[in-house]
Symmetry: C2
Subunit: 240 residues, 2 copies
DNA sequence: CAAAAACTGTGACCGCGGTCACCAACTCAC
DNA sequence: GTGAGTTGGTGACCGCGGTCACAGTTTTTG
């Protein structure tokens, strides 16, 4: 199967670097990074690491997106967040040298750089800037987690949670949205099952609520492309 | 009102330092810390920082415990975690230079060191060890948050969540528990209202479930001292 | 391109737990 | 002390959303 994106072999030439949370490092650090990293390409659905495993190293997600999830002993599972390009994964585990907190699964064909635990620790000690980036990434993880807690704990109803989620996604809309004014198009790669795991509800309820939104003209759904047609209405559902 | 603990003025002589997540730093760093910190003592219920405020600096909690909470616009609020002595508070905000994520309120008379934003940033750049400790603290925050998400999202029932919480508390039991075998005594400083906010339910339900636990002989409650009398039963309620 | 697998839509049922309402017990402040 | 303000206990009610069951649809795969 052919991948539909350019593989970025050389971090120094990477065009996404500056928008990335982690990779915007000084030249010397990038050169070092280039030496210790191992670039791989993964199909959709690939597992980068498994919750509970002891950490072998970290992953820098170059392109594609990945979901971080945690599973209860009964098999019920829960999405913690969706990581975007430029994020570092497995950091919590690597820093504390404790098992991975989450299972990471690619949602799209993705490229990621792997750095082995020992190399990473040395890299961290060698360049102070790396420590700062690590702190930034950890901070971002915390914020996402707190958002998730707020969503789970402070929202009253599923419609509210779902509206909140859609609005969050709407912050990164599709550019290619054939601009009708006041409409926002977005590409949703999660299944309803996954959305349910994200907002802590059941698949059936997501389906029902979504149908409700469609009937009321809040959104239009065409395959993986959702179009927000009444943003105001969604915002009114959200209290927080 | 007199405080019932010794005030630790000198970080170099602090006897709790080694058990602390943050303060176990090299001598030079401690000397610097000593210069830039401002020690204060707070009564129970004092607010160290407020959610949404821009960060003025960080707090190192020396003695006492504090709850971190977040509030929805409707006034419903939710406890994110309870911080123990030695933890750094306000770090997420300080690192990202973004508003405080949570409101911090002391649960007991407490002592804390304040470091102003600018001093902290300089301190961080000056001593690499500090960066590491910061990463450790942030990692800890993430883990707590993930536990909270798991508790909120993966547990089925309130009894399960409450059992889980009690068992988590039981990991730090009261030493002075007049050892009956198989009994664990613990001091609970949260009100039922706060417990409810911690596990995402209502006060009434906490009360009811607790009464259930007492009737079934899982725990005994005497004021703020709870005694686990049937740990096994509590563990059986927990599925994760 | 057909068969399998995954995903989505919907009806029926019902129980957990939120909410309201009130009283009891405890804790402070003065 | 005494009264105000928390905190805790409990009954009644009922609606949201979980679960089960199954049909329809889309995607994957060999």
């Amino acid at each position: 199967m052919a991948y539909h994106f350019q593989i970025v072999e050389d971090c120094l030439k990477c065009e996404f670097r500056e928008q990335s949370l982690f990779c915007d490092l000084p030249r010397e650090a990038l050169i070092r990074l280039q030496e210790i990293k191992a670039t791989s390409v993964y199909p959709k659905g690939a597992l980068l690491c498994l919750e509970g495993q002891s950490p072998r190293g970290i992953f820098i997600l170059c392109t594609g997106r990945a979901k971080l999830s945690t599973t209860s002993s009964e098999g019920k599972s829960m999405i913690l967040r969706v990581a975007e390009p430029g994020e570092v994964l497995g950091l919590t585990a690597a820093v504390a040298n404790s098992p991975y907190e989450a299972t990471v699964e690619t949602l799209e064909p993705s490229q990621a750089n792997f750095i082995a635990q020992a190399d990473f620790v040395r890299f961290l000690q060698e360049f102070p800037d790396v420590g700062l980036k690590v702190a930034k990434q950890l901070t971002h993880n915390c914020k996402c987690a707190y958002d998730e807690i707020r969503s789970l704990g402070l929202s009253n109803s599923v419609p509210e949670k779902l509206a909140k989620l859609i609005l969050r996604w709407a912050e990164h809309p599709l550019e290619l949205s054939l601009k009708k004014p006041n409409e926002t198009a977005l590409r949703v790669t999660l299944t309803q099952e996954e959305i349910a795991q994200f907002i802590g509800t059941s698949r059936e309820t997501v389906s029902r609520v979504l149908t409700g939104f469609r009937k009321k003209g809040y959104i239009r759904v065409k395959g993986a492309t959702w179009t927000i047609t009444n943003r105001r209405a969604l915002e009114n559902l959200v209290t927080t």
